[in-house]
């Protein structure tokens, strides 16, 4: 079970889209899981053949649980699986560890003894029933009962653990909205508790960018028109190339810059709540494909049909609250990210350009950044870089 966001402790596998024996390749969608952010499609990151599906649909499992095993080219477990390879003596060396999002350093229950899938789990009937009622994954538990069997105590501890770790995760009567609210609450509380934010704001003249956009849209059918958000996203993404300290993750008292730039685009959902799924490698995308990706992302986000990687990959968040009429955004960073860029409404203002007052279209651009990683000086330079890029929209 990949971690689809720092605040996720567990999720329910709702559907397998592939079955044992199916060949899969990197990027294939193999399963759908239900999180507090809705249904998420799980991609696979290894090529191979599905060997075993280890989690039944409807089962809620903690992050880090092996969902399935894959026989790769070297007949070993891989992909979404973090299972130990099958114990055939002819086997090749294990592959490098999967990417962090799929294999969190810290499994949620470090005390759990690893069990091979073939192991029959010893669990008391009463414990099995309680586990089923609470969707506890017994594979992740270490039994403390007779003969090491899982007993009621173990399940009760697991329920308590899930409740305290994820809080929201365990209330089966929840509406999706309530679950998301709590997930946001957990993430934002953590952010304000742990991250020493600093805030910078600067007005950026969007006149040239908007003129360019109107020109570019002039001959396009309505469905293909660009919106200015694409320019904002592209400008932020390009600027980040020079400011790695704003693009990455703070984990375990250490900042790790991200290699790629995946913009988490904040999308408010009908009925409340928001998600910030990733626009992958936005810095390297041309405006048109980026626009298509953005449209697709918003549509799927509102249908609760995002992919796992889209939720776990963003390296920074960008939010545009201009539609709501606000002028300035003071953002709260989404941990473990270290920065958030906020855009307000574009307002027409008298502006001094080349010694003359003229009407200009101004957008307040703000940065909330993690002071453990970057300082105001660099943050200011970053905002200036966004400004410069937006003055050359044709290069974006």
């Amino acid at each position: 079970m990949p971690q689809l966001g720092a605040d996720m402790a567990a999720a329910t596998l709702t559907e397998w889209l592939r079955k044992p024996g199916d060949a899969v390749k990197h990027g294939d969608i193999v399963a759908v899981v239900e999180t507090e952010k809705g249904a998420i499609e799980i991609e696979i990151f290894e090529d191979g053949v599905i060997d075993k599906l280890l989690v039944d649909p409807g089962t809620k499992v903690p992050v880090g649980t092996v969902l399935a095993t894959i026989d790769g080219d070297h007949t070993e477990a891989a992909g979404v699986s973090t299972a130990p390879p099958p114990t055939t003596p002819t086997e090749a060396a294990p592959k490098p560890a999967p990417r962090p999002a799929e294999a969190p350093e810290k499994p949620p229950r470090p005390e759990a003894r690893p069990r091979s899938p073939a192991d029959r789990i010893k669990i008391s009937p009463a414990a099995a029933r309680l586990a089923a009622e609470h969707n506890i994954d017994i594979r992740a538990l270490a039994g403390t009962g007779p003969d090491g069997a899982i007993g009621l105590t173990d399940i009760e501890n697991a329920i308590q653990g899930t409740a305290s770790a994820g809080g929201p995760e365990d209330k089966s009567t929840d509406t999706p909205g309530a679950a998301m609210r709590r997930a946001i609450a957990a993430a934002m509380s953590r952010s304000k508790r742990e991250i020493p934010h600093y805030y910078l704001s600067t007005p950026i003249d969007m006149t040239r960018a908007m003129d360019w956009l109107e020109e570019a849209n002039r001959n396009r059918p309505v469905t293909d028109r660009l919106i200015y958000s694409v320019l904002l996203i592209k400008a932020v993404a390009r600027a980040l190339e020079e400011f790695p300290e704003l693009n990455g993750f703070w984990n375990e008292d250490e900042f790790r810059p991200a290699r790629d730039i995946h913009i988490g685009w904040a999308i408010s959902l009908r009925g409340g709540g928001l998600v910030s799924p990733a626009l992958h490698n936005a810095n390297r995308m041309e405006p048109d494909p980026l626009m298509a990706a953005l449209r697709d992302l918003v549509k799927r986000a509102r249908a609760f049909r995002l992919r796992g990687s889209e939720l776990s990959d963003p390296t920074i968040t960008v939010t545009n609250l201009g539609d709501q009429g606000v002028e300035t955004v003071f953002g709260v960073i989404y941990p473990p990210q270290v920065a958030l860029v906020g855009f307000g409404r574009i307002v027409e203002r008298p502006w001094v350009v080349d010694g003359a007052v003229q009407p200009c279209r101004i957008i307040q651009t703000s940065l909330a950044a993690d002071h453990r990683v970057s300082d105001g000086h660099r943050g200011g330079l970053f905002l200036s870089k966004i400004d410069r890029l937006l003055q050359e929209p044709e290069t974006l």
Binding site: S124, P125, A126, A127, A128, R129, G143, T144, G145, P146, D147, G148, A149, G151, L152, T153
Partner: protein
Amino acid sequence: MTGTTATSAQTTYREAIRESIRDAMIRDERVFLMGEDVGHYGGCFAVSMGLLDEFGPERIRDTPLSESGFVGAGIGAAMGGMRPIVEIMTVNFSLLALDQIVNNAATLRHMSGGQFGVPIVIRMATGGGKQVAAQHSHSLEGWYAHIPGIKVLAPATLEDARGMLWTALEDPDPVLIFEHVLLYNMQGDLSPDAGPVDISRAAIRRPGKDISLITYGGMLAKTLAAADDLSAQGIDAEVIDLRSLRPLDMPTILDSVTRTRRAVIVDEGWRSGSLSAEISARIMEAAFYELDAPVSRVCSAEVPLPYPAHLEKAALPQTADIVEAARALFGENV
């Protein structure tokens, strides 16, 4: 002792049974006692001491050493309208009367299409611990609990020793009462107005929430001692005294196990094909999803009970064995 009836008096299990026989003899002139040495000798375990003098040889009858003969006579008397109490020295000897008990007493109501009942009460001693070796020490009451048509009782307290006999005599069908040999000398207080008790329900002798210790008869004292030891180790054990081995009071057992989720059955009989096996199976059938651990049993070693004291002790369930079996069901959680 004062004259008030509310004051309880020191008595023994033996005296309580004797009192129950006296009481029955006085209540109903159809009641009589017969068995080996019950008259002049006063009973192998001195239960009927003095009754011959009080009730005379017509009602306190010594019999030949012929279990099949006098049990059969008792069955005939019962069919003829009497209310016989037949004493057999030990359960081992009752095997000589097995045909009478199983083929006749237990079946005649059925075979006669309801025309005849056999309202007989057969008392016998059971169990080991007195160094009387393999032919006098076994616990075979579980065998009798296998047989439809009879009731099987196991009084483990003074109240039940005093109270079960009359209720059994009132039953229209055969009732077997098993008195554990180690209980006869058990002393305690018994209210002078103690009287008949029900013979259908198990009793919770000690309430607890963590584990159900299910036992009867001679094992009750050891099981209660084990519960005390467990309590000192943080395990709150409930002790159930079955009282009736047939029929079994399953509602009481299942209710207890449902609360505690663990059960140890303490049965002095051998484990193979035993009463403990039956109880275990019924718990599994009816309360499987309530269990947090396998049902466990403490039974006698599967050997003819040895004569030497240390070997006899080793073969019989002891308090420490019960404690160990109970603790094992908690795994690391103790």
